[in-house]
C-alpha cells in the first residue's frame, strides 16, 4: 500500500473529494467510494466498454484508468444524463426499441452513444456500428441497439429543427 492521495472529481455536476491510493481504478472509485454503480466491470482489459463514462469530454473506459490519473477531471456517468422525470432521449429510445436485455452493458452503451451522437448527430448505420464497436453486448446481437441509437438521432435532430 502507498500513501493515499487527496482526489477531487466533479461527477455528474457535483464536487467529490476523497482519499484513495493512486493505483485504485477509476471504475472502483466511482462504484465503491462514490456509490455510483451504473458503470460496470465486465472484462477489465478495456475490451468490453461496460465501464464507459465521459471524462473531460472523452468516452473512456474507466477500468483502464487510475483514479490518480483522473484527479481533477469532470466525469459524467449514466446517472448524470437524465432524471426519472426527464430521461435522456437515448434512455427512452433503448427502452422503446428493446435495445437491452440483461442491462449490464447498457450504462456503458448509452454513455458511449451520447458521445457518438454529440460528435456525429446524423450517423449512418455503419457509423453507429463502428462508433459503438468498443462496447460488447452479449444479449441483444446489437441489432436493436443500433436501431435505438439511430432512432434517438432522428429524434434529437427533429427536436433541434423544431427549436430553430
Amino acid at each position: 500500500m502507498t500513501e493515499k492521495m487527496h482526489i477531487k472529481l466533479k461527477v455528474n455536476g457535483e464536487d467529490k473529494e476523497f482519499l484513495a491510493e493512486p493505483r485504485e481504478l477509476l471504475i472502483y472509485a466511482l462504484r465503491e467510494k462514490l456509490n455510483i454503480t451504473g458503470p460496470h466491470v465486465g472484462c477489465e482489459t478495456s475490451h468490453c466498454g461496460a465501464c464507459t463514462v465521459t471524462l473531460n469530454g472523452k468516452s473512456v473506459k474507466s477500468c483502464t484508468m487510475f483514479v490518480a490519473q483522473a484527479n481533477g477531471a469532470e466525469i459524467t456517468t449514466i446517472e448524470g444524463i437524465g432524471t426519472p422525470d426527464a430521461l435522456h432521449v437515448l434512455q427512452e429510445s433503448f427502452r422503446e426499441h428493446h435495445g437491452l436485455q440483461c442491462g449490464f452493458c447498457t450504462p456503458g452503451m448509452i454513455m458511449r452513444a451520447t458521445k457518438l451522437l454529440e460528435e456525429n448527430p446524423t450517423p449512418t448505420e455503419e457509423e453507429v456500428r463502428f462508433g459503438m464497436a468498443g462496447n460488447i453486448c452479449r444479449c441483444t446481437g446489437y441489432q436493436n441497439i443500433v436501431k435505438s441509437i439511430l432512432a434517438a438521432a432522428s429524434e434529437l435532430n427533429a427536436a433541434k429543427e423544431a427549436a430553430q
Partner: protein, 805 residues
C-alpha cells in the same frame, strides 16, 4: 362473444396481455444505471475474498505458507483445504453426481484451480495478499486430450482410485467417468451394414464458454445473532443453491436466504455451484461479517463452467434416393478435472439423444463416454437445453455429409426426411416424444423467403467465375433445421441433485385489483417481469401494468428449479397460467354471487365476468378483487390468492429453419455474412418484440461460437484464450442484421401452447453458420472441417483443397 367490437378491442389492448409487444418494465432501472447486480451490494464491514489459483494444470500441492499474507495489514484470513476439512467443506457435490474440491486438497487438476482463499479489508489488499501466499507445487504429467487420457497410466482422480462404479454405471479406466447408451446398438449396426449408402464423419465441437458480461460472484452475510445466513449471488437457480448450501453447511434451510439480484447475463454459466460461493459463506461464518467474492474475467474464463468439448463420430445410413434408415453416434466427452456438467441426474450427456434431429429416423444408437482431463470442469448448457447444441450440430452436419455422399441438394434431403405433420406426437428412435411440429411448412417458407433456388444458381455462377480466375471469394449457403427439446422437465425423468424439475408461481391479488406474482425462476435478461405479467393479464383480466413479477428471493418466492435450458416459459410460464386459472375460478364464484346468478351462468370476458347472454351485467376483476377481501361471501374464504406447482407432462419441442449466406475470401480466410434468415416456431408467442430480441442475441452467440469463440489450451494445460483480446466476443461491427420470421405450432400439452425460444437461435444458428462455411468449399471436395471457423482455419481448408495454388 366472438365479435371484436371496438370496445372489447380496447379493453383487450389495455390488458397488455399475450401476443403484444409490450415494452419492458425492467428497462427503467437498467437505462438509468439503477440495476442491482451482485457487485453493487455493499454491506457494513464487508470484507473481500480473492483466490490463490494454480498456475499448473496438474501438480501436487507440497506446501502452502500463509505467513507473509497474514502479516499484511488488512488481511483477515487465508483459508485452505486444511481449514475447510474440519467443517467437511473442502469438497462439494457437483450437479453431475461427482464431487469437486472447493480448495485444492493435495493436488490440482487444472490451471486456475482454487488453492487458497484470502479474506481482506478491500479488493486491493486481497489482491496483494494473493501474491504473498507461497505455494510449493510438484508438477505432474498433464493430459489435455480425452483419448490420450483413456490410454494413460496417469491417474487424474486419485480420490476415486479403485472405484469401478461411477454415478452412471461402470468405469472402464481410471480416467473414465461414465458410458451412457441410448437406442439399439445391434439393430442400428445391422441397418448400417445393409444400407445402400453410409456416410461417416468425425467432428470436434470445441470447448467454449458462455462468458456473460457480468462474471460470477456472491456476497455471504452470516448474522450470528439470529443464526441467519443471507447469500446474494449470480445464481440461475437460487432455490437449488439454498438447498445445497443447507446440505453442505448444516445450517437449516429456513435459516438460509438466497437472493439472486439482477443478473448480468447467464447463458448457463451461472447454473453451477462454484468454490467462490462456498468460500464466501465459510469466510462469513468464520469472520462474522459479510464477505464478497467476485471473480475477474480471466478467472471466469479459466475456472467457471465451460461448454461443449465433444468429440463426435457419426454414421448415417440411407437408401439410394435419400431416405435415412439409421444413425449411429459416439461421443467422447471431455469433462475436465471434475464432472461438473449441469445435466439432469439421469442424463449424464444431457439430451444428446435428441440427435436424430427433425428427421424420421427409424433406428438409432448413441453412446457417450465421459472422460477426465486436466482442464477446467463444467459442461454447461451454453444458451441451450442440456447438450442440445451438440446434438443439433451433429445431425445437421451429418445431413450435409450425407447429401454430399448422395450428390443431392441438402435442402431436399432434409425435406424428404422430415417428420411429417401428421406423425406428431412422434416418438423418436432414441425415446423422446416430440409434441408438435410442422416442419415442411416452415422449411418451404424459409426457402421461398430467401429464394433458395436463385441463391444456388448464383453460387454455381460464382464457382465458375472462381475457376476462371475472375474472383477470389466463394459463396456459401448455410442451411439448418433444428428441433430443440426444452422445458425440463417431467419430474419423473428430470431432477438435479434429487430435486425434481418442476416450477412454480404464487399470485396475490390486492384489494384494489392490482397483483404480485412470484416465481421459482430468475431472469437474466429474458424479461420475465414483462412477459409473465402478460401471461397473467390474459389469464386473470388484470392489466400487465398492474402486476408486479418478483423472482430470486428464496424467502418470498415459491420453490423452483430456476432459469436455464429455456425452461422458464414451458414450466414456470405454465405454472403462472394455471395459478391464474385458479384465481379466475374463485373470481367466477365471487362474480356469480355479486351478480346473483349461478356460477355457471357467468363467463369470463377479457377483464370481467359477464352474465351469459347479458353482457351489460358484469363485474370487473377490480370489483371482484375488492369484494374478495371486503365482502363476506357465504362459503368462500376471504382473499384472492393462488399457488401452482407445475410438473410438465412432457418437454416442449420448438423448431426453426435458418439460412445463412456468406462470402468467403479464400486468400485471407475472412468470411462476410451477407444475409441471415431465421424462422422460429416457438408455439404461442407471448411478446413478439422480446422473441425477436432473443433471436438476435442467440444468433450472435452462435456466430461467435461458429467463427472463433474457443477456450484453447496448450499441451501444458495453459489456457491460451484467457482475456477478451483472444476469447472472441463479436462487437456491433462484426455482427450482421438478421431477418426474423415465424410460424406458430402451439404445444398441445402446455396450458398456453408456448414452447420457449431463448435458446433456439443458438442451437440452430451454430450449424447454420458452420454449414455456410463448409458449403462454400463443397464444390472443391470439402466434406467437413471443424469449428471454430476462424480466419486461419478457413484459410487452411482452402489451402488443403489446393485453392491457393
Amino acid at each position: 362473444m366472438n365479435d371484436l367490437s371496438p370496445e372489447r378491442q380496447e379493453r383487450s389492448a389495455n390488458l397488455k396481455g399475450m401476443g403484444c409487444s409490450r415494452k419492458r418494465v425492467e428497462d427503467a432501472r437498467f437505462t438509468q444505471g439503477k440495476g442491482n447486480y451482485v457487485d453493487d451490494i455493499k454491506l457494513d464491514g464487508m470484507l473481500h475474498g480473492d483466490f490463490v489459483r494454480s498456475p499448473y494444470a496438474h501438480a501436487r500441492v507440497v506446501s502452502i505458507n500463509k505467513d507473509a499474507a497474514l502479516a499484511l495489514p488488512g488481511v483477515v484470513a487465508v483459508l485452505t483445504a486444511e481449514d475447510l476439512a474440519p467443517l467437511n467443506l473442502h469438497w462439494m457435490p457437483t450437479l453431475a453426481g461427482d464431487k469437486q474440491m472447493v480448495l485444492a486438497d493435495g493436488k490440482v487438476l487444472f490451471q486456475g484451480q482454487e488453492v487458497a482463499f484470502v479474506v481482506a479489508s478491500d479488493r486491493y489488499v486481497a489482491a496483494d495478499a494473493v501474491e504473498l501466499v507461497e505455494v510449493e507445487y510438484e508438477e505432474l504429467p498433464v493430459i489435455t486430450d480425452p483419448f490420450e487420457s483413456l490410454k494413460s497410466d496417469v491417474v487424474l482422480r486419485e480420490d476415486l482410485a479403485g472405484q469401478t462404479e461411477g454415478a452412471h454405471g461402470p468405469r472402464k479406466h481410471h480416467n473414465h467417468i461414465f458410458t451412457w447408451e441410448q437406442g439399439e446398438e445391434a439393430a442400428t449396426n445391422q441397418v448400417i451394414d445393409n444400407a445402400d449408402i453410409v456416410a461417416e464423419e468425425s467432428m470436434y465441437y470445441h470447448r467454449t464458454h458462455p462468458c456473460p458480461l457480468e462474471t460470477c460472484g456472491s456476497v455471504a452475510s452470516m448474522d450470528k445473532v439470529n443464526g441467519k445466513l443471507t447469500l446474494w449471488g449470480t445464481f440461475q437457480a437460487p432455490h437449488v443453491v439454498r438447498t445445497v448450501a443447507s446440505l453442505l453447511s448444516g445450517i437449516e434451510e429456513h435459516n438460509i436466504r438466497v437472493i439472486s439480484p439482477d443478473i448480468g447475463g447467464g447463458f448457463g454459466n451461472k447454473v453451477g455451484v462454484y468454490p467462490g460461493y462456498v468460500c464466501s459463506i465459510v469466510a462469513s461464518i468464520v469472520t462474522g461479517v459479510p464477505v464478497k467474492w467476485v471473480e475477474d474475467r480471466m478467472e471466469n474464463l479459466m475456472s467457471t463452467a465451460f461448454a461443449r468439448d465433444y468429440h463426435m463420430t457419426g454414421k448415417i445410413a440411407a437408401t439410394k434416393d435419400g431416405k435415412i434408415t439409421g444413425l449411429h453416434c459416439h461421443v467422447t466427452a471431455d469433462h475436465g478435472g471434475f464432472d461438473a456438467c449441469a445435466d439432469p441426474t439421469k442424463f449424464p450427456a444431457g439430451f444428446m439423444n435428441i440427435c436424430t434431429g427433425s428427421y424420421d429416423i427409424p433406428t438409432a444408437y448413441l453412446a457417450v463416454d465421459g472422460v477426465y482431463t486436466n482442464k477446467a470442469p463444467g459442461g454447461v448448457s451454453y444458451r441451450c437445453s442440456f447438450r442440445v447444441t451438440e446434438a443439433v450440430y451433429f445431425i445437421e452436419r451429418m445431413i450435409e455429409v450425407l447429401a454430399i455422399k448422395l450428390d443431392m441438394d441438402a435442402a431436399e434431403l432434409r425435406r424428404i426426411n422430415f417428420i411429417k405433420k401428421e406423425q406428431f406426437p412422434y416418438t423418436a428412435a432414441l425415446g423422446w416424444e416430440y409434441d408438435s411440429g410442422d416442419y415442411h411448412t416452415a422449411w418451404d417458407k424459409a426457402l421461398k423467403s430467401v429464394d433458395y433456388e436463385g441463391l444456388r444458381k448464383e453460387q454455381a455462377e460464382r464457382v465458375e467465375a472462381f475457376k476462371r480466375g475472375e474472383t477470389r471469394t466463394l459463396m456459401g449457403i448455410g442451411l439448418s433445421f433444428f428441433t430443440e427439446i426444452v422445458g425440463a422437465g417431467p419430474v419423473k425423468n428430470c431432477d438435479i441433485l434429487g430435486m425434481g424439475m418442476f416450477d412454480s408461481c404464487e399470485i396475490r391479488i390486492h384489494p384494489t385489483g392490482s397483483a404480485i406474482a412470484r416465481l421459482g425462476t430468475i431472469s437474466q435478461g429474458q424479461g420475465h417481469a414483462t412477459t409473465f405479467a402478460q401471461i397473467l393479464a390474459s389469464e386473470i383480466g388484470i392489466s400487465a401494468d398492474s402486476i408486479t413479477i418478483e423472482e430470486g428471493d428464496t424467502d418470498t418466492a415459491p420453490y423452483g428449479l430456476g432459469t436455464y435450458g429455456s425452461r422458464s416459459t414451458p414450466v414456470a410460464g405454465a405454472a403462472t397460467a394455471l395459478a391464474g386459472r385458479k384465481i379466475r375460478a374463485k373470481a367466477q364464484m365471487i362474480a356469480a354471487y355479486l351478480l346473483e346468478v349461478h356460477d355457471d351462468d357467468v363467463e369470463f370476458d377479457i377483464d370481467r365476468f359477464v352474465v351469459k347472454g347479458a353482457p351489460e351485467k358484469f363485474k370487473t376483476m377490480k370489483e371482484i378483487a375488492y369484494a374478495a377481501y371486503n365482502q363476506a361471501i357465504p362459503g368462500i374464504e376471504p382473499g384472492l390468492e393462488a399457488v401452482s406447482y407445475y410438473d410438465p407432462p412432457n418437454m416442449t419441442y420448438p423448431f426453426g429453419a435458418y439460412v445463412c449466406v456468406m462470402d468467403i475470401d479464400v486468400d485471407t480466410g475472412v468470411p462476410e455474412i451477407r444475409r441471415f434468415y431465421a424462422l422460429d416456431d416457438c408455439g404461442t408467442r407471448i411478446n413478439p418484440m422480446i422473441i425477436e430480441g432473443q433471436v438476435h442475441g442467440g444468433l450472435t452467440e452462435a456466430l461467435a461460437v461458429a467463427l472463433g469463440q474457443e477456450i484453447a489450451y496448450d499441451e501444458l494445460g495453459n489456457v491460451k484464450t484467457g482475456t477478451l483480446m483472444d476469447f472472441f466476443l463479436p462487437t456491433a461491427w462484426e455482427v450482421p442484421n438478421y431477418e426474423t420470421d415465424y410460424t406458430v405450432t402451439p404445444s398441445p400439452h402446455h396450458p398456453i401452447g408456448a414452447k420457449g425460444v431463448g435458446e433456439s437461435p443458438h442451437v440452430g444458428g451454430v450449424p447454420c453458420f458452420s454449414n455456410a462455411i463448409q458449403d462454400a468449399f463443397r464444390p472443391f471436395g470439402n466434406t467437413h472441417t471443424n469449428m471454430p471457423h476462424d480466419h486461419w482455419r478457413i484459410w487452411q481448408t482452402a489451402n488443403g483443397l489446393g485453392l491457393h495454388d
